[in-house]
C-alpha cells in the first residue's frame, strides 16, 4: 500500500529525514519508535502534505500513485488520514458540521452520493459509540475546550467516520492518562481491518501494549536503524534508544 524509498526531507532548513525507507502492506499495523528529534513527526507531516517540510530526495508511492505530488486534501480523499499529535481548535465550526463536510468531500471524490444531515447524524452517533466519545462533544466547536483525552478521542472518531485506507497516528498516546489511553486504543483496535494499514508513531512502548503492532521499526537520525516484530518494542523499553545509537 505504501512504499517509502530513500526519503530525505528538511523541516525549515534543517535536514531531518536522511534516507528513510519503509514498506507498509494493507492490513498491517506498523509501529515507528524513536526518541525526540529522530524525525517521527516530520515523517507524519511529510506524508500528510504539510507546508514547511521539503522533500529533497526519495519517493513515496501510495496505492501506485506519487503521494508527494498530491495536495493535502487529495491525499485525504485518496484515503490517507493523520491523527494529529496536537489537534487544533476551530472556534465557530461545529464538530458535526465539520466532519460532515469532510466526509462528503471524500465521498464526492469517490463518486459516492453525499450524505444529508439526517443520514450523517445517524452515522456519527454510531461511530461516537464505537470510540466512546460523548455525544455532547459532537455539537461543540471542533476541539474547542476539549480535554487532551477528548481531543485524541475526537481524532479517532474522525478516523472512524472517514474510514481511511492508511491511518498515521502521530504520538496519539502523548498527554493521555492510562484510562484515556485504553479508550483511545480500544477505538483504534476496533478500526483494524485487512484493508486498512496503520502507522503508529510513538516514543514509548506503553501504547504498543494496547495497540499491538505487526512490525516495529526504530527511527534514529532520520532513518530506520532496526526492524523487527512486536518484541522489538520491549527490547527498546529495556535498553533504551542508546543501545541503537551505535548500530
Amino acid at each position: 500500500m505504501l512504499e517509502i524509498k530513500n526519503l530525505h526531507a528538511t523541516a525549515g532548513d534543517k535536514p531531518v529525514l536522511q534516507g528513510l525507507s519503509l514498506t507498509v502492506k494493507a492490513g498491517e499495523v506498523v509501529a515507528i519508535m524513536g526518541p525526540n528529534g529522530s524525525g517521527k513527526s516530520t515523517l507524519a507531516h511529510v506524508l500528510s502534505g504539510r507546508d514547511g517540510f521539503k522533500v529533497t530526495d526519495g519517493s513515496v508511492v501510495y496505492k501506485g500513485k506519487d503521494l508527494l505530488a498530491m495536495s493535502p486534501e487529495d491525499r485525504a480523499r485518496e484515503g490517507v488520514f493523520l491523527a494529529f499529535q496536537y489537534p487544533v481548535e476551530i472556534p465557530g465550526v461545529g464538530n458535526t458540521y465539520f466532519l460532515k463536510n469532510a466526509l462528503n468531500a471524500i465521498r464526492k471524490h469517490r463518486g459516492q452520493a453525499e450524505l444529508d444531515a439526517h443520514e450523517f447524524l445517524k452515522l456519527i452517533k454510531e461511530k461516537a459509540k464505537l470510540v466512546q466519545i460523548s455525544e455532547n462533544l459532537l455539537s461543540r466547536p471542533v476541539n474547542e475546550g476539549f480535554s487532551g483525552g477528548e481531543k485524541k478521542r475526537n481524532e479517532i472518531l474522525q478516523m472512524a467516520v472517514l474510514e481511511p485506507a492508511l491511518a498515521i497516528l502521530d504520538e496519539t498516546d502523548s498527554g493521555l492518562d492510562i484510562d484515556a489511553l485504553r479508550t483511545v486504543s480500544d477505538g483504534v483496535n476496533s478500526l483494524r481491518s485487512k484493508d486498512r494499514a496503520m502507522i503508529v508513531i510513538t516514543h514509548y512502548q506503553r501504547l504498543l501494549s494496547y495497540i499491538v503492532p505487526d512490525k516495529v521499526h526504530v527511527l534514529l537520525g532520520g532513518k530506520i536503524v532496526k526492524s523487527g516484530g512486536k518484541e522489538l518494542a520491549l527490547e527498546l523499553e529495556q535498553k533504551g534508544y542508546a543501545g541503537f545509537e551505535a548500530a
Binding site: D51, A76, I90, G92, A102, A105
Partner: protein, 427 residues
C-alpha cells in the same frame, strides 16, 4: 476658465436654484446649507476623517435624484421575506405600491415626505444640525424617509422593514433619506433597514437616522447595506436612550465603494443599555468606515460593542470606537471589541478603540485584533479532505458567525448568510 471648481458649488447652486421648492422647514434648510457652506467637505487633515478620503464624493457632480422611469424593476426585491410590514423608497421617494402599511393599533409608519407636506413642525425638534457637513447637507435637502412611531406600551412582534432601493441611472445622483424612529414608554419593536442598489449604479446616499427611546423602550435595529459597488454611502445615526431603555443595533456592511457610518448613542437615563454589533466584508477597492460613539451619561448603564471585519483585495476598513463615561456615571459596564480578518496582503485596517472615563466605579474594557486565516487550522481541514477554497469559506463563516448569529430576525440572518457565501466563494 482655468480655476478648479469648489466642490461645495454643486450643492450651493442646487440649493440656490431649487431650495425654495423643497417641502417644509425653509428656515432650517437655510441654516443647514449655511453650515455646510461654512464647513465644506471634510478632509484627511481632520482627525475623524484621517483614513477616509471623501474626495470622490466631493468631486463627482451628483445631481438631485430624479427618480427612476421604471420602478417595476424592483418588484422582485420589494417582494421579499419582510414584505408584510414594509415601507419602501425608490431613489429616495416613498413608493406606496411597494409598501404594506397594514399596521396594528399604536404603530405608526409613514413617510417623512407626507409629514413635510402636512405638519413639518413636528419634525423640527428632531432636527438640530450637528457639526457634520454631511448631516447638514441632509438637513438642507432631505425630502423623504421613514417615520416610525410606536405608542407607549405597544409591543410589535413583526419586524418593520425600511427598504431603500436605488436605481441605475445614466448620471450620478444624490439622495438624502431622513429616518425617524421613536418608541414610547415601555414599547418594543424590531426594525430592519435595507439599502440595496444594482451593480454599476453611481450614486451618493447620504442618510441621517434619529432614534428616540422613551423610558423602558426596546428597539432592535438592523441595517443591511448592500449598495452598488460604485455607490457612496454615508449614514449618521443618533440614538437617545432614556431610563431603562434598550437599543440593539447591527450594521452589516457589504456594499458600496465608500461606506461611512457615524453611529452615536447617548445613554441618557439610568439603567439604559445598548449593544452595537457590526460586520463588514469588503473586497476589491472598497472602503468601509465605522465611527461609533457611546456616551454613558448616567449611572448603571451598560454597553456592549462587537465589530468584526473581513477584508480581501485592496480593501480598507476603519473602526473608530469611542466610549465616554461621564463623571457621575458610576457602575457603568462597557465592553468594546473589534476583530479583523485580512485575506489579502494588500488589505488594510485602521482600528482605534478608545475609552474616556471620568467616573471611578466602572467596569470597562476594550480590545482590537487583526489576523489572518490560521495556516494550522487550514491544514487541519485540508487533511480531512476539505478543499482549500471550502476550508477558507468555512473559517470565514465561522468568524462572521459570531455576529450573524446575534441577528434575531430569521429572514435577515439567512439573507446575510447567503451574501457571505457568495463573497467568500469569490475570495
Amino acid at each position: 476658465m482655468d480655476t478648479v471648481t469648489d466642490p461645495r458649488t454643486t450643492y450651493l447652486s442646487d440649493f440656490e436654484r431649487a431650495g425654495k421648492a423643497l417641502p417644509g422647514l425653509p428656515e432650517l434648510r437655510r441654516k443647514a446649507i449655511e453650515k455646510f457652506a461654512e464647513r465644506g467637505f471634510p478632509t484627511c487633515r481632520e482627525e475623524s476623517w484621517r483614513f477616509t478620503d471623501v474626495t470622490p464624493i466631493a468631486e463627482i457632480p451628483f445631481k438631485p435624484a430624479a427618480g427612476t422611469a421604471n420602478p417595476n424593476q424592483f418588484a422582485g426585491l420589494a417582494n421579499g421575506a419582510l414584505k408584510a410590514c414594509q415601507i419602501t423608497f425608490v431613489d429616495g421617494r416613498f413608493a406606496p405600491s411597494f409598501s404594506s402599511l397594514d399596521l396594528p393599533a399604536g404603530v405608526g409608519v409613514t413617510s417623512v415626505g407626507e409629514i413635510l407636506k402636512s405638519a413639518p413642525g413636528v419634525l423640527a425638534p428632531l432636527l438640530q444640525i450637528p457639526d457634520d457637513p454631511f448631516a447638514a447637507l441632509n438637513a438642507a435637502f432631505f425630502r423623504d424617509g421613514a417615520a416610525i412611531r410606536i405608542a407607549d406600551g405597544i409591543r410589535v412582534e413583526r419586524p418593520i422593514h425600511i427598504l431603500c432601493l436605488s436605481s441605475l441611472h445614466g448620471e450620478p445622483y444624490v439622495l438624502h433619506p431622513r429616518t425617524v424612529i421613536s418608541l414610547g414608554e415601555g414599547s418594543r419593536a424590531t426594525v430592519v433597514m435595507s439599502f440595496l442598489g444594482p451593480s454599476g449604479g453611481t450614486y451618493f446616499l447620504n442618510a441621517v437616522t434619529t432614534v428616540l427611546l422613551d423610558p423602558g423602550a426596546s428597539l432592535d435595529l438592523t441595517k443591511v447595506q448592500r449598495e452598488s459597488q460604485q455607490a457612496y454611502h454615508i449614514e449618521r445615526l443618533d440614538v437617545r436612550g432614556a431610563r431603562g431603555s434598550s437599543f440593539t443595533h447591527h450594521s452589516i456592511s457589504l456594499g458600496a465603494r465608500i461606506a461611512r457610518n457615524d453611529f452615536n448613542v447617548s445613554l441618557e437615563g439610568e439603567g439604559a443599555e445598548c449593544s452595537l454589533y457590526g460586520l463588514y466584508e469588503v473586497a476589491g477597492a472598497q472602503h468601509v468606515d465605522h465611527h461609533t460613539s457611546i456616551d454613558h451619561l448616567q449611572p448603571n448603564c451598560t454597553s456592549r460593542e462587537l465589530y468584526k471585519g473581513v477584508l480581501d483585495g485592496r480593501s480598507r476598513a476603519v473602526f473608530d470606537g469611542r466610549i465616554m463615561v461621564r463623571a457621575g456615571a458610576q457602575k457603568t459596564s462597557a465592553i468594546q471589541t473589534n476583530k479583523n480578518l485580512l485575506l489579502s496582503q494588500d488589505a488594510l485596517v485602521h482600528t482605534k478603540p478608545q475609552l474616556e472615563i471620568f467616573a471611578n466605579d466602572v467596569k470597562c474594557k476594550h480590545g482590537a485584533t487583526i489576523g489572518q486565516l490560521d495556516e494550522g487550522v487550514l491544514f487541519y481541514l485540508r487533511s480531512r479532505g476539505i478543499g482549500l477554497a471550502d476550508a477558507r469559506r468555512l473559517l470565514i463563516h465561522a468568524f462572521a458567525g459570531e455576529i450573524v448569529d446575534t441577528v434575531k430576525t430569521d429572514a435577515v440572518r439567512s439573507q446575510i448568510g447567503g451574501c457571505l457565501a457568495l463573497i467568500a466563494g469569490g475570495a
